[in-house]
Amino acid sequence: MAFGLIGRVVGTKPSRLSTAARLIPARWTSTGSEAQSKASSGGGGENLKTFQIYRWNPDNPGKPELQDYKIDLKDCGPMVLDALIKIKNEMDPSLTFRRSCREGICGSCAMNIDGCNGLACLTKIECGSKETTITPLPHMFVIKDLVVDMTNFYNQYKSIEPWLKRKTPASVPGKEILQSKKDRAKLDGMYECILCACCSTSCPSYWWNPESYLGPAALLHANRWISDSRDEYTKERLEAIDDEFKLYRCHTILNCARACPKGLNPGKQITHIKQLQQSG
């Protein structure tokens, strides 16, 4: 009965709308016809790529393994996260990984893709028939498949007290604490950090001392609060991290700058802290 109504409407409307109305039913059936044409062409022009993904299940614990999955890149979005979601939807629902925003702002999908740490939603699938290896962030305890235990990382971030601390109350009580544009510009390159842990887990120094060395991410944030002109506890912050292990495990390896998916340079910020320690 609904179709009958639509048919009557299409017949009576002017020509512009009737072409649009004709387009709509064509779109409804387009997937059916396209699928038929793909099947009839015999899968011609298929672009298969193999993904080797690290699997370990705590419910059936054995040795962790790299499992192969073949994906047709024509049916898949350009990013590695699209491939992972396609594998989970169509081939293996037990594949476990973290993801949220799919646009590189939440930092959930951080993993090691072809040896380099990065966000799965921002890393393009490399064209060509070479296999892509996906493993969890290196030297982190694995909870399941690609999901790692981030509690140590978050505790280190908490330990630098990443909030504004003041001794004197604001000059106008109840209003914002003012900051000049130049002082605000000092925070650029540090406030954008999304705590994805790509940098800390790419640092060999952090691999060998994860509990005592704070890691590039936490130190970047420490510098963000040290450099903030509104914060009045600068001396105490510097003293808190002036430690053989917390700060000086950094040997300017600079893997962190290479790994950061947001293009930040934690190594540079750590050097800034070291300079402040030297002079102050």
């Binding site: 614990p61 054995g62 305890f141 694995v142 909870i143």
Partner: protein, 90 residues
């Protein structure tokens, strides 16, 4: 009783077990018995089922247990409870 020289991992497991029993002591009596029952069955079951050389899984269980113990130690938490899940063959 037991091995003469305990390995580091065995000592960790035992200290986790001790930690659970100590945490149970601070709870009311009924809940204390329930906690002790659940913890001891869990540890005994794992000690039989889990291979001694499967270090990755043992460390995983240790980390899981330590997190649960930290939660249990908080005074707001009153008791533990467990559910038995039987995998169906259908």
């Amino acid at each position: 009783m037991g091995a003469s020289k305990l390995s580091g991992m065995q000592k960790q497991v035992l200290s986790l077990y001790r930690g659970f029993l100590r945490a149970a002591r601070s709870k009311p009596i009924e809940d204390r018995k329930r906690i002790e029952m659940i913890v001891s069955t869990e540890f005994r079951h794992n000690s039989k089922e889990v291979d001694r050389k499967n270090f990755q899984y043992i460390e995983y269980l240790l980390r899981l247990g330590t997190k649960q113990l930290d939660q249990l130690k908080s005074p707001d938490i009153v008791s533990l409870s467990s559910v038995k899940v039987v995998a169906s063959k259908s």
